[in-house]
C-alpha cells in the first residue's frame, strides 16, 4: 500500500494521485480531522454509532483464519466423478425442466419469506444471520452441483439450474445470495475438477447439515485486474504446493474452512484447495460498497500449503472463471427483477400533479426500458448457461452476458433509485441497496459458481 504512506491527498479516499491541496484545502482537511476525532464522542458532542465501532474493528484488524475442521484424506488420486452434459434435443425452448421448476419454486419461497426480510439487517451487519445460513443448508444449496453418486443432487451438468437458483435467491437479496451460494461454489468446483481423493475428502462435509463455510477466491485488489494473470503465485514443493499473495472479495472468509484459490503456477493460472487450518493464512475484513451480507474479506496467503485442483494448463481455471461470471450474471438478473417489481408498484402509487407518476411517459418509459434490458440480460445469461450445461463452448456467450449484465444491471440499479427520487436515496426503501449491490457485477470474480 504505497499510497497510504504518502502525505498528499492523492491516492487516498478515492482521489486520483495527481490531486494537490491548496491553502483552503489544508483548512478543510484540519476541520475534517477534528470531525473525525473520537474526542467529540468522549465528551458527548456526538452520538457514536454502533456502525462506526463496527467498521473500525472489522476493517482495522487482521485475524487468523478459523481453526476449522480436519478433513481426513480419503480415496485415490485418480480423476474424480464427473456428471454428464445435458443432452439437447435441438429445440429452441425457454421452459425450465420440471425438476428445475420445482427447485426454483422452493428457492423463491425461501427468498421471499426468509431472505428478503433479513436483507437490510444483514447489509448493516456485514453478515448473513446464522438462521438464514442454516435454512439455506436445509434446502440443499451447497450440493446442487455435486453428483448424485457423491451425495449431491446433480444428475447432469447443472449450470442452468444454478443460474435459475441464483436469480431466484438474488430476488431476495444479492448479498445473502452470495453468502449462501459460496459453499456450493467450492463444492461444485471440486465436483467439476477434483480428483477422486479430493472429492471423497471434501464433498461429504457439504452434504450434511453442518456443511462448512467455504469460498472461491479469484479476485485480487489490483486496478485493471485481469483474472487470467493473478499476482498470487504457486510454488511446487516436495509435499505439494505453497501459495503467496492477496485475494479479495473472499466470501465469509472469516468463517470459511476451505478455500479454492486462483494462483499462477509457472505461466498459467490454476486452482488450488487451501484448508483454513493450513497455516500461513490471514483474514482481513473488507466491507465494500455492497454485497455486504456476503461478509467480504481479503485473504492473505504466505507460503500457505495448498493442493492443485484440476489441471495446470489454465483450462480448468478459465472454465471456473467463466462459470463464476455466469453466476454473477444470474445474480444481476434476480436483483434487476427485484428493482423492476419494486418500482412498478411504487410509480403507480406515488402521486404528483394529481395523478400517479406512472402516468407520465418520462417515468413510464424508464420502467419500460428497465423491463426490456432485464429480459435481454436474462436470455443472454440463459443461453450461456444452456451452452455450458450441454458441453458446448461458452466463452463468447459468458462474455456477452457479463458485459450486458454489468452495464445494464448498473443502469437498472441507477434508475431504480432515480424513479423513487429522494425516497430512493434513503434506507427506508431497498433500492439504494440494490444500487450498491449491482455495482459488484462485472468487477467481482469468484465467490459464486454455477
Amino acid at each position: 500500500m504505497a499510497s497510504t504512506s504518502r502525505h498528499g491527498p492523492g491516492g487516498k479516499h478515492g482521489l486520483a494521485s495527481s490531486e494537490t491541496r491548496d491553502p483552503i484545502g489544508y483548512a478543510v482537511a484540519a476541520l475534517s480531522k477534528l470531525a473525525q476525532s473520537d474526542l467529540l464522542d468522549r465528551v458527548g458532542l456526538r452520538k457514536a454509532t454502533e456502525q462506526a465501532v463496527y467498521t473500525a474493528t472489522r476493517s482495522g484488524l487482521r485475524t487468523m483464519a478459523v481453526a476449522g475442521r480436519t478433513f481426513t484424506r480419503k480415496g485415490r488420486k485418480r480423476a474424480g466423478v464427473r456428471v454428464a452434459s445435458a443432452d439437447a434435443r435441438g429445440v429452441f425452448d425457454l421452459t425450465p425442466t420440471e425438476d428445475e421448476q420445482m427447485l426454483v419454486q422452493v428457492v423463491k419461497e425461501f427468498a421471499e419469506e426468509v431472505v428478503r426480510p433479513s436483507a437490510a439487517e444483514a447489509d448493516e451487519a456485514c453478515a448473513t444471520p446464522e438462521a438464514v445460513l442454516k435454512a439455506s443448508l436445509e434446502i440443499g444449496l451447497p450440493i446442487l452441483g455435486v453428483p448424485e453418486s457423491l451425495g449431491g443432487v446433480a444428475e447432469q451438468r447443472s449450470a442452468v439450474g444454478g443460474v435459475l437458483v441464483a436469480e431466484a435467491l438474488a430476488h431476495g437479496d444479492l448479498g445473502i445470495a452470495v453468502a449462501t451460494l459460496a459453499p456450493g461454489a467450492v463444492a461444485t468446483a471440486i465436483s467439476l475438477w477434483g480428483s477422486e481423493q479430493q472429492q471423497q475428502t471434501y464433498l461429504p462435509a457439504f452434504t450434511d447439515d453442518q456443511a462448512p463455510a467455504a469460498a472461491l477466491a479469484l479476485a485480487e485488489p489490483t486496478v485493471l485486474y485481469d483474472a487470467l494473470r493473478p499476482a498470487t503465485t504457486a510454488v511446487a514443493g516436495a509435499d505439494g504446493y505453497t501459495l503467496t499473495g492477496v485475494k479479495s472479495g473472499v466470501v465469509r472468509g472469516a468463517e470459511a474452512e476451505l478455500f479454492v484459490v486462483g494462483a499462477m503456477l509457472d505461466d498459467a493460472p490454476a486452482l488450488f484447495l487451501v484448508e483454513s487450518s493450513a497455516g500461513g493464512l490471514e483474514i482481513e475484513a473488507d466491507p465494500s460498497m455492497g454485497a455486504r451480507a456476503a461478509g467480504l474479506t481479503r485473504l492473505h496467503l504466505s507460503d500457505t500449503p495448498a493442493q492443485l485442483l484440476g489441471g495446470a494448463d489454465g483450462t480448468d481455471y478459465t472454465e471456473c472463471l467463466r462459470l463464476s461470471r455466469l453466476a454473477w450474471c444470474a445474480l444481476a438478473v434476480g436483483t434487476g427483477q427485484a428493482v423492476l417489481d419494486y418500482v412498478t408498484a411504487y410509480v403507480k402509487e406515488r402521486q404528483a400533479f394529481g395523478e400517479p407518476v406512472a402516468h407520465r411517459q418520462s417515468v413510464a418509459f424508464m420502467v419500460a426500458d428497465l423491463a426490456i434490458e432485464l429480459q435481454a440480460m436474462r436470455l443472454v445469461t440463459w443461453r450461456a448457461a444452456s451452452r455450458a450445461a450441454q458441453g458446448k463452448s461458452f466463452a463468447r456467450e459468458v462474455a456477452l452476458a457479463h458485459q450486458l449484465c454489468a452495464e445494464k444491471g448498473m443502469k437498472i440499479g441507477l434508475d431504480g433509485v432515480q424513479l423513487l427520487g429522494g425516497h430512493g436515496f434513503v434506507k427506508e426503501h431497498p433500492v439504494e441497496r440494490w444500487y450498491r449491490d449491482l455495482r459488484a457485477v462485472g468487477l467481482m470474480e469468484g465467490g459464486v459458481l454455477v
Binding site: 413510464a364 444452456s386 456477452l400 462485472g442
Partner: protein, 419 residues
Amino acid sequence: MINLETPRKHRVLVDQAHQVAMNMLRPISRKYDRAEHEYPKELDMLAAMIDGLSESGTAEGAGATGATQDKAKRDPAKPAADKRAADKSESGKVRNGANLASVLSVAEMCWGDTGLLLSMPRQGLGNAAIAAVADEEQQRRFGKLWASMAITEPGMGSDSAALSTTAVLDGDEYVINGEKIFVTAGERSSAVVVWASLDKSLGRAAIKSFVVEKGTPGMKVERLEEKLGIRASDTAVITFTDCRVPAGNLLGSPEIDVRAGFGGAMATFDNTRPLVAAMAIGCARASLDLTRDLLEQAGVVVDYDRPAQAQSAAAARLLQLEADWEGAKLLTMQAAWMADNRQPNSLEASMAKAKAGRVGSQITLACVELAGTVGYSEHELLEKWARDSKILDIFEGTQQIQQLIVARRVLGLSSAELK
C-alpha cells in the same frame, strides 16, 4: 429444457438464406443503393427459386408470409401460431415453427441487404397481414399476390385513431377514398393492403384492412420517395379516389366491435414486429462482422475472457456492441417462439422491436465510427448499413410506440391512463 440455440430443424434454412444473401444480394447491394427506384430484376430469379423451395417444403417461413396465425382460434387477444406445426404437434410439446424460421431467415437476408429483402416479390408486409387474418377463401384468392401494406397517411403515423381514409359499403362493394404514404414496395407489388375506417365516429374499432389489387380503377401511385436508406426498396405515395373493391376483399370480420376495439388490426403487429426486429439484427450483424474483421487486420482482437476495461477501447466497444446485439437477437427469437407456441406475445414482440431497433442504429453507427473514413466512404458498405438501419427503428411502430406498449403492459395501465 432451456436451450437458446438455432433450432436443429431450421439450420438448413438459415444456411441457405445466408448463402443467398452472400451470393445474390451482396453483389448487387451497392448497385441498387445508387440506382434508387430502379427495379432489381435479379430478384425475380430469386423469387422463383424461393417459390420452388416452398413447393418442395424446404423453405418453411423463408419470408414474411411465414409468420402466420393459428386459423382454428383466431382471436385478436390470442397469439399467432404456426398452423403447420400446430396441425401435427402433440399437446404440451414445445414447437419451433414458421415464426421462428421467419425471423431467422429474414435476419440472414438482411445481413445481405435490407432494401432488397423488402423488395422480394411476394414477401411483402402485406403478405404477412393476409397470412395473419385471411380466411380460407381469401387465402386462395390473395395468397399468391405480392402485397404491400398501406397504413400511414400524411396527417397520421403512429396515431391510428386519426386515420382519415374511408371505406363505404355500396351494394357488394366498398368504396375507398384517401391518401397513403410510406407504402413499402407500393409500386412493385401486385396488391396493397389498405387500412380504412368504416365509420370515423366509432374510432379505432372501425378500422379494417382491405386488399386492393393493382389496376383497380381509382388507385394511383402518385410518386416514389427519395430516402436516407433502403434505397433498393421503393416507397410510394398512393391515392384512392372512389376506388371500388369487392366486399370480400375486407380482411377479417366486417363487424365493428367497439368492445374488442382495435385488436384485430393490431394483432398483425405481433407477427410483423419480430420480423422487423430480425431485419435490424441482420443488418447490424453485417456491420459487426465486417468491423470485427477490419479491426483484426488492424491488430485489435476481442478477448472474451478478459474484462473489457483491460482491453483496447476499440475491443471493449466491439464487445459492448455484440452484447447488445445478442440481447436483441434472443428477445426476437423469444417473441417468435411464443407465437409458435400460441402464447400471447404482444409485450415480447414490442420489447424485441424496441431493443433491436435502437441497437441496430447504435451498432451500425458505431461501426462506421470505429472504421473511420473507411467506414464513412462508399468503398465499404458500412455507411450504407448505417443508413439502412434507421428505418427499422421507425416502421411497424417507432421506438417510442414500442416503449409505450411495453410500459402500458408492464405497469398495467390503459391507454387513457398512460397516453
